[in-house]
Symmetry: C2
Subunit: 293 residues, 2 copies
Amino acid sequence: MLEKLRHDAALVEAELDRLLPLPAPGPRRRLQEAVRYAALGGGKRLRPFLLLQSARLFAVPEARALRAAAALEMLHCYSLVHDDLPAMDDAELRRGRPTLHRAYDEATAVLAGDALLTRAFAVLADPATHPDADLRCRLVAGLAAAGGLDGMIGGQALDLAAERESLDLAGIEALQAHKTGALIVEACRAGAVLGGAEAAQRQALEAYAARLGLAFQIVDDLLDASGDAAEVGKPLGRDAAAGKATFVALLGLEGAQERAARLVAEAKAALEAFGPAAETLRRTADFVLERRT
Amino acid sequence: MLEKLRHDAALVEAELDRLLPLPAPGPRRRLQEAVRYAALGGGKRLRPFLLLQSARLFAVPEARALRAAAALEMLHCYSLVHDDLPAMDDAELRRGRPTLHRAYDEATAVLAGDALLTRAFAVLADPATHPDADLRCRLVAGLAAAGGLDGMIGGQALDLAAERESLDLAGIEALQAHKTGALIVEACRAGAVLGGAEAAQRQALEAYAARLGLAFQIVDDLLDASGDAAEVGKPLGRDAAAGKATFVALLGLEGAQERAARLVAEAKAALEAFGPAAETLRRTADFVLERRT
């Protein structure tokens, strides 16, 4: 499984490399470098992996799926850059490296995030992504909805709303469904859209992704509570220290582990109609549960 | 002319009001309010006006042009919010009111800007903007190009590159062509695209807009050097005090005035083929030259 993830991550890395401008001499060089620093050089690439695997269920040509996957990852990377800013989470490390505003500066981090977000839509709207313009518009609209006020940005607002210490389980699930779930669901949805999937197939993938996304977040809390900082690549225990409600705080280590396992089982069950073709997506769900970083 | 501008500005305001979510009770309310604070309540609305007027040359149905105009203005408003941030221009006032991060807070300003940028693309990709999906994709791609690294964001990077005191006339013109020109050109281009204009017509409008945009910026410098702060709605003389190169510093008050007048004459000449139909766009160019705010 790890090998499959790494294989696709390398493809996505190469696609991002192609789609982002190379730094050229001149006063914009620093910003061009910062954009590449934010988007290249690692990460699990889980979202593009889910898009690619979903697209493969429908035999979508790889070049098309890779463009959509890279666009989705650009949007994810922009969100990390902006969320890490001093005015937001004030994070120092990301993927074991200084966050963008620490490696460059805050203004560059704001602009690099803006540039990645903008570029994501340019890539999706380009005929190279798919010959059918109506389908491209659906990808643009889907990504904008997943990334917008009713999706990821709304989730970050919920997270910043400072009432997090008083969140109950339903509250924290809603927060995560917006903040991380929406984009994970969009990954699978985009694969289905690219493949011309029927509504029932698309909905099955969305159901899978919603459960997978929540399980992913619960495991994040578990790793934050009991993982290895060197392996994970960022300081741990910050949420608990800040008194923030987490799945672990609400459910306990064992309860959180059980909840994640149940969600993963449900995610796998949602794929039943796809039969053996969805085996990699099922194993991805297991991987999310068992990951240590 | 002012009356026409105000008329269209009111239409754009109403369209933005329709397209941005109403604040609802709950933890996201503050962000929803901030998005509306950033986008509603004034401004000259020059860019959407240019889009609407260009679209009218081709008898584009008003409802379609208004959606595209509102999307363009969302992108413009997001750029103002992010450019005003403490890490960028650290501005206190905008349109005579506290800037967004002063009225709310910095995290909310980053997110509200992100939300406006994201929403702009959602609006353009929506079939309500135009029934032809290929045309919608061209609008998405055009706005992304104008707003991206090779356009507006690149221009802001040039502006922040701190070498501005050493910029010559060609350098400052390149900066402004990116920072403000690209989006003004996109306004006229989008009107032509919506109207199914021929390439020559579209290019004439782009030539008009490029000259208009530069003249607009020169007049901005003139107002900054000798305008009335109460009328303009923000503190003046900051660029000169910061030792930044401006058109006025490089050309003198009279030279800058002459350069702006020549650009406006060229802008009007570019519209010759449209005949009397383009009279409002010609008068818009005169207005840009004569404006006092």
